[in-house]
């Protein structure tokens, strides 16, 4: 089974796949990895009514609002480039992740 290797920054410790071999079981080791994901420099791009907003991890307030998605994604990419760390998480209107950059 092929394993997707996403560009993941900020995951502390073990980066070896630990998925249980007996199916898609979320084992204690998987839970530990999820717990250790460091989201500090992540930027979230999400739709809000007819606009797109960008927000830093942990902040409830929106940093900026854009009319089009591509502008919001570009702005988010600029922020992580300046910080030289983190990733951009793009959500759809259902609150689900549509892309990780």
């Amino acid at each position: 089974m092929s394993v997707i290797r996403r560009k993941v920054s900020g995951v502390k410790g073990n980066s070896t796949p630990v998925k249980s071999v007996d199916g898609n079981r979320v084992s204690a080791a998987v839970v530990r990895i999820i717990k250790n994901v460091d989201t500090q420099n992540w930027i979230y791009v999400s739709p809000k009514q007819n606009t797109w907003t960008i927000r830093k991890d942990g902040a409830h307030r929106v940093m900026r609002t854009y009319k089009v998605k591509s502008s919001a994604v570009s702005a988010a990419k600029r922020i992580i480039n300046i910080a030289n760390a983190g990733q951009v998480i793009i959500y759809n209107s259902q609150g689900e992740i549509s892309k990780v950059i």
Partner: protein, 202 residues
């Protein structure tokens, strides 16, 4: 977990409903409650026995009757959700003192559609979510504020809950990808596995 913190979720488990179900279980866990869903552990178990056991052990219940409709043209509608809701309301009406303390929230897709489907429940306070997860979270938070399950001051705002939901989802997905789960495995993760992952982020 005790009777007073268990919440029975009576909802569909189809692919289209998954975003709504994820936001629902997140809100419940975020508020400090325990979601209880019917997932038959063994094919030897009768599904209805498991459901009745859940109804018996949960003070709160959330019934989503938005999928009382045929899956495709010519099919018959699905009546599992209204049947289970009837069992729960029956316990509240005719049960012992503990059963009479039960509280339930009934969710629908659009306003007043239930008037056509189950007119017997007309007059009850039924909330509509328009198939939008954020709207569903809003209705659940309103219900927690109204039913006194937690002090009003401790009920988080919709925007706080929604941003936390997004943050936790991101953490879960990236954590699972790092653990070796493929994109399709993450997408098709069972709700029980999702709950197990989610609990580690809240």
């Amino acid at each position: 977990m005790s009777f007073s913190t268990n919440i029975f979720i009576n909802c569909p488990f189809d692919k289209e409903y998954k975003p709504l179900l994820k936001s629902l279980v997140f809100t419940i866990i975020y508020l400090g409650f325990e979601p209880k869903l019917s997932t038959t552990a063994s094919s030897g178990h009768q599904r209805i026995d498991e459901i009745m056991n859940l109804i018996n052990t949960c003070k709160f219940s959330i019934h989503d009757i938005s999928r009382c409709e045929p899956l495709k043209t010519g099919d018959l509608p699905r009546f599992n959700m209204p049947y289970e809701m009837g069992l729960d309301i029956g316990c509240f009406k005719f049960g012992n003192a503990q059963m009479r303390s039960k509280r339930c929230l009934i969710l629908e897709k659009v306003k007043n559609r239930y008037d056509i489907v189950i007119s017997d429940i007309s007059g009850q306070d039924i909330k509509e979510h328009n198939n939008k997860p954020k709207k569903l979270v809003e209705k659940v938070l309103d219900w927690f504020t109204a039913n006194g399950a937690i002090p009003i001051n401790n009920v988080p705002s919709l925007s706080t809950t929604w941003t936390k939901f997004q943050d936790c989802n991101a953490k879960v997905e990236v954590g699972l990808a790092t653990s070796g789960f493929t994109a399709s495995e993450i997408k098709n993760l069972s709700i029980q596995q999702y709950i197990a992952s989610l609990k580690s982020t809240i």
